[in-house]
Symmetry: C2
Subunit: 299 residues, 2 copies
Amino acid sequence: MSHLFGGIEAGGTKFVCVIGTDPDNILFEKRFPTTSPDETIQATIDFFNETKNEFGIEITSIGLGCFGPVDLNINSKKYGHITTTPKPGWGDTDIVSPIKNALKLPVIFDTDVNAAAIGEGKWGAGVNLENFVYFTIGTGIGAGAIINHQPVHGLIHPEMGHILLVKNPLDNYKGKCPYHANCFEGFASGPAIEERWGKPADSIHLSHPAWDMEADYIAQALCNIICTISPQKIILGGGVMQQFHLFQKIRQKTKDYLNGYIPAKIILENIDEYIVPPKLGNQAGMLGAIAMAQTIMKV
Amino acid sequence: MSHLFGGIEAGGTKFVCVIGTDPDNILFEKRFPTTSPDETIQATIDFFNETKNEFGIEITSIGLGCFGPVDLNINSKKYGHITTTPKPGWGDTDIVSPIKNALKLPVIFDTDVNAAAIGEGKWGAGVNLENFVYFTIGTGIGAGAIINHQPVHGLIHPEMGHILLVKNPLDNYKGKCPYHANCFEGFASGPAIEERWGKPADSIHLSHPAWDMEADYIAQALCNIICTISPQKIILGGGVMQQFHLFQKIRQKTKDYLNGYIPAKIILENIDEYIVPPKLGNQAGMLGAIAMAQTIMKV
């Protein structure tokens, strides 16, 4: 009998818990809102206990992709904690230990965006790539990076939503980030678009100047990411990127900013295959969590 | 008898060829100016042939850290070539094959800045770190990155000197980069400092506003690098960083730009140990080439 794995996509708005092996074999899936840590973590534990007790499902391990910032350093006392999040009640919350202790299973822990990148790397747009980046551009902006075939952690983990950008000359908006006057998330997240233009992104017409400005900020960020880590592909997901017309604008402006400097054919001649939407859509995170759980088999 | 290794630091201004095993055991070293490709590559070959014929020195392999852009993709027809460099005569030059064929030795090839990062990682400021970045800020600006314990290649290789920055409000200079109106190298390289202020960097007084502006550009870049790849340390080398007074300014401004967002003790409380000069000084590149040559022993 083949192994089954658990996946948890722990988001700031909702949690998704799944059991399965791959995109074509998800046996159970449950979604519930992110409320208090105690209640939400208990609902997570209950999902796995119920599938075990009621359906006899045994899983090998659990992958957990979590909103952050989180502590990924296994030598740290705070390993497995959500650290300095502004989300009320969730600062300094240990999320790994309660799940691991209640279910007596190994838990493989990473950021929500690294989980999505891992999912796209295993079954989506990043298959077989050594270096690529997965961005989510929505309520917040974050990115997971796979470099040398592994997710990037480093000192903390990437926080690409907070790189600094040049303010667009037509932009009078002060930015939404409480930390940075001119960062990517502050200029280009969904809430920034809504506050700047006085209406939600999904009600702004295709011909509105909002989209040229949005594409400008995203292209500046991609130009910097390309020069910094030389990804073989960039995957753009999240709510704002449901505006698919943005892709062509972003691709053109990214080429304009790079101005021919990076001598790569895929950028110069074939950028439609370089800056792409996720292949797993909004399932990248939960499937990535399953893929993370499966890494235990290599140990 | 222990193995000996060759190292080549192939710079745009000069080549350095060495034979040895580590910083305390360099048996031969030769420096010569970078002239035409034929002449310079021949001088490199001659160095290794002469040490062999005159002193009986047998080496196991050669590490080659090269100015670029270079093609690092071993599946590419242009692997081992310097590609689109503006340096006259050097565009599309195969540097690996002539050396490998003449000396009948394995050649391990990477960028000059990755070689320096590898050297610092083996014997210098990056020992035991999983993720760190080595910058050279001088005639040009480039960086080597070690992520997940390996140098980053990806699509091409990092070109961090060309990330886009916000123009300092006191800066009236148009920038030195022919590709980008507002990139790091265009604003902050040695030649940019000289052209902006009308005198070479090393003749500008400590109290001159040039240094606050320089530190501002470097700090913006470091802020973006920190948010993008979460390095555990940043090493700043190169001619401009011989102005050691810059370090304190850069550290303070980097903290100001991050504004407490990255919850890492080494940044918040101990940034003197986070943004540091190279421990190997100007030997990082040649020693890194030796370290690269030694990787052949693991195969």
